[in-house]
Amino acid sequence: MRTITLIEAIKEAYQEELRRDPDVFMVGQDIRGAIFPHTKGLVDEFGPQRILDTPIAESGMYGVALGAAQEGLRPIVDFMFGGFSYVTFSECSVTTGQYHFLHGSQRSLPITMTAGVGTGQRLANDHAMSIHGTFAHHPGIKVAMPSTPYDAKGMFKAAIRDNNPVMIPWHMGIMMLKGEVPEFEEEGGDYIVPLGVADVKREGTDVTVMANSLQLQNAFKVADKLEKEGISVEIIDPRSFVPFDLDTVLKSLEKTNRLVVVDEDWESGSFANTVSAKVMEQGFDFLDAPVIRVTLPDMPVPGGYMEDYIAPNVDKIEAAVRKVLA
């Protein structure tokens, strides 16, 4: 099978869905010129009406999507960097999340939101913060984040076809990660990866590590290293945060009885906390040790080299695994 990067896989998802459904369009800032390569060349095929650039005005930009979705269109909104979604948070989270429910299930909002997120670029807080935990906290929006090119393409296509609002950021640290993705024309090439389904990315027997995106790559490195010592690590990629596939985690814990949750988000109010609490309530009997979390400490993400001192990394994950096994 051919190999492409994660960012190319996302672009293919856009292309195929824009071709499949004339109601799909994309709105953002500098998406025509492709500030990130997932929109490169789209304007040539689909034109500036469907690949729509707005002024630097996030509320108005998101408003294009919100109003158009109420009118029955299926917008994809690119916030560029995840932190920029906070500029219009009352629309893209509060209003959007409550819309279907509060208005009596009369209309759903098929909006796909995306943005680059994560540490590793030394860009500091507003350009490095994770947003999945915050969006997951507010009800009514599905939240997912891909870890591989195959998942990226399938999950973005699932998000665009979903009748609900979906926030699906992608991690800048794995933007150029390569992986196998079938061609559209191949058998099974027009595939989706359903939202709400976790994936066991590596099977193991001694300890379960839950990790996503860049941190999944770090978890692989830890698992490789510990394997040489005879420690078998099972790695689960949640893929979706809302809805969350707790069953896959509990099933793994029946076998390993130990859980480390890696989450590149601040500790307080994080998704890692949610997982830890759910496992404590629903999987307590499986546990031989307390759940350990590896998160960002509760401080703004510093820029420059200091990002390296605080972000979850191989060493921190390894230490957590050893601790939960001790």
Binding site: L52, A57, V64, G67, Q106
Partner: protein
């Protein structure tokens, strides 16, 4: 655009209906028969009636938050029985009793009442984008008050609407008050419509107490937008007779509004002005006017009966949980 007799009768009828609906809502709030709060519209009902009476069913409308949109929606021809049911927490409500006053009539292109003032401006661009993309002559009537133009969203919205020549009417119902605070203090120029100049957007100022004057401007603005000429800004200079919402004091800044101010405002009561006009022009007789009032009262009684005879919505938590996401 000059109004014909038929148009004037329609406007007058809707003005009477709007006035009586607003009074009904006020009364029910005092009676404890409304959930949440009510922001009365008395004194400022003419602009909404004028903006909405000649809209088509497929034209988008953002109703003003004052009157909770009821004066606008009845003028657009929406049956608001289910709105009152919603506002009383009943299972027959337009949003199944879940929304308090966050009504929504998507089939009539009224998509949301937001809890955030000024949150009409952002989706307005999306409605305009959809209308322009589909090119079927649909227009967007975006009604909100002077206070809402303090939001940066107003700027973002007008910027994009003018850039893309979207069929949007920024219908500003300027009653000079945002809760207690006056537009005089919060806006640097005498007219909110001065904002439009910066975008190169045409704008008009009209006497918001005169429903017929407002309607002539509304018809022009709707025609302008329908023809693809882009957005237009209309500022209706109007008034607010009552407190901001029932239960709050009637202040200007932090001092009580004076009796003199109230007396002066009452002289320009929109139903009174319109009644004098239709009688003077021989459009309607006093008997006609009495009949219009009686019909409106009968209609409102039916709306109230529908709400009062409906059951309080009592879904289970599991049923509510199942409604968070669509299929």
């Amino acid at each position: 655009m000059k109004l014909n007799k038929e148009q004037m009768i329609k406007l007058y009828t809707n003005l009477v209906r709007a006035s009586l609906y607003d009074k009904m809502m006020y009364r029910r709030m005092l009676q404890g028969k409304l959930i949440g709060f009510y922001h009365p519209a008395e004194g400022g009902i003419a602009p909404g009636v004028a903006a909405c009476t000649f809209l088509n069913k497929d034209d988008n409308l953002n109703p003003h938050h004052r009157s909770h949109g009821i004066t606008h929606m009845i003028s657009k021809g929406i049956d608001v029985s289910t709105f009152l049911a919603e506002h009383t927490g009943k299972d027959t409500g337009c949003c199944k009793g879940r929304s308090a006053w966050h009504f929504s009539y998507p089939d009539d292109k009224v998509y949301q009442q937001s809890g955030f003032i000024g949150h009409n401006f952002a989706p307005t661009v999306g409605w305009g984008y959809a209308a322009k993309t589909r090119a079927q002559g649909q227009v967007v009537m975006n009604c909100s008050g002077d206070g809402s133009y303090g939001e940066g969203r107003a700027h973002e919205s007008m910027l994009m609407a003018q850039n893309w020549k979207l069929p949007v009417i920024y219908w500003c119902e300027n009653n000079g008050m945002a809760i207690f605070t006056t537009a005089k203090e919060m806006h640097p120029t005498p007219d909110i419509s001065s904002l439009a100049l910066g975008y190169g957007m045409p704008s008009v100022i009209v006497d918001g107490q005169d429903v017929f004057a407002c309607a002539e401007v509304a018809l022009d603005a709707i025609e302008h937008a329908r023809q693809g000429k882009g957005p237009m800004f209309v500022e209706c200079k109007t008034m607010r007779y009552n407190e901001h919402d029932i239960g709050t004091p009637d202040l200007s800044g932090w001092e009580k509004r004076s009796d003199e101010e109230h007396e002066k405002m009452r002289k320009r009561e929109p139903v009174k002005i319109a009644t004098e006009r239709v009688l003077a022009d021989g459009i309607l007789s006093q008997d006609d006017i009495d009949a219009i009032n009686q019909a409106a009262l009968d209609e409102i009684q039916l709306v109230e009966d529908f709400a009062d005879n409906s059951e309080i919505a009592k879904p289970t938590e599991a049923e509510l949980m199942a409604a968070v996401f669509a299929d």
